[in-house]
Subunit: 114 residues, 2 copies
DNA sequence: TCATGACATCGACAGTAGTCGATATTGACA
DNA sequence: TGTCAATATCGACTACTGTCGATGTCATGA
């Protein structure tokens, strides 16, 4: 595995897809970022977090809606956090996840021509 | 695998990610669409096609730039075509691929809040 | 009609990713 | 300190995916 450790959203979306041919590196970074979004469970987690009161939710709030085990939900949240889409705030024994403002918009702009 | 045969862009991007929680079906469709984009070779193919003269390119033009075998390139082009991002026009013995107008924009809008 | 060139499909293989149960970790609290 | 509850990590398994070489298909042109 060729580790791309800190591939987060801001790094991956510097250039636009349709402007000029992507370099190999730019394509790898953007693909890595999009892979984080290319999973139904993670998309649902993002949308549930976004729709939660206060814009944040803890793992225990998310397990039941998506119908997956707690380790699996934790795994998906880690993927989204590493990709820069979610932030994690631990308060007491609970871990609250929230959307990182602008992260989705950056990916959006990397794709769209408009 | 629960086949989603005709998952193309237009079906997958009806709702926005951050508006309200995605249904299981909407999440599956959008994830399927995004999976088509979540690969460095396919992103490069898209960008090369977009930047080609006349907005289209044949397989023989694409094999060398991405450094992959002809069958592999053909496979990626099929994935992108099935997902609704590329159109295929066969003229003589050559197959010309072109961006489907608005396809990327639809995904872009499904992600962004703006 | 036959050979050739462009592309698609097939079959196989290796690497990757989603999932879970079991377990470790961490903080709260009695 | 010991217990409990919430999360994270680990190990394993299965399924999927990217890749290739071999082969099939089809249109062109001699």
């Amino acid at each position: 595995m060729t580790e791309i450790e800190l591939t987060d959203v801001s790094a991956a979306c510097a250039t636009s897809l349709v402007g000029e041919p992507l370099t190999e590196e730019a394509a790898a970074e953007l693909a890595h970022t999009m892979k984080a979004l290319a999973d139904p469970a993670r998309l649902r987690l993002l949308s549930i977090v976004a729709a939660s009161a206060g814009g944040e939710a803890c793992v225990c709030d998310l397990t039941e809606p998506v119908g997956l085990s707690q380790p699996t939900v934790s795994h998906h949240l880690k993927v989204l956090t590493d990709a820069g889409f979610l932030s994690r705030a631990k308060r007491g024994t609970l871990a609250y996840y929230a959307l990182v403002p602008g992260a989705l918009d950056r990916v959006s702009r990397a794709l769209g021509t408009a």
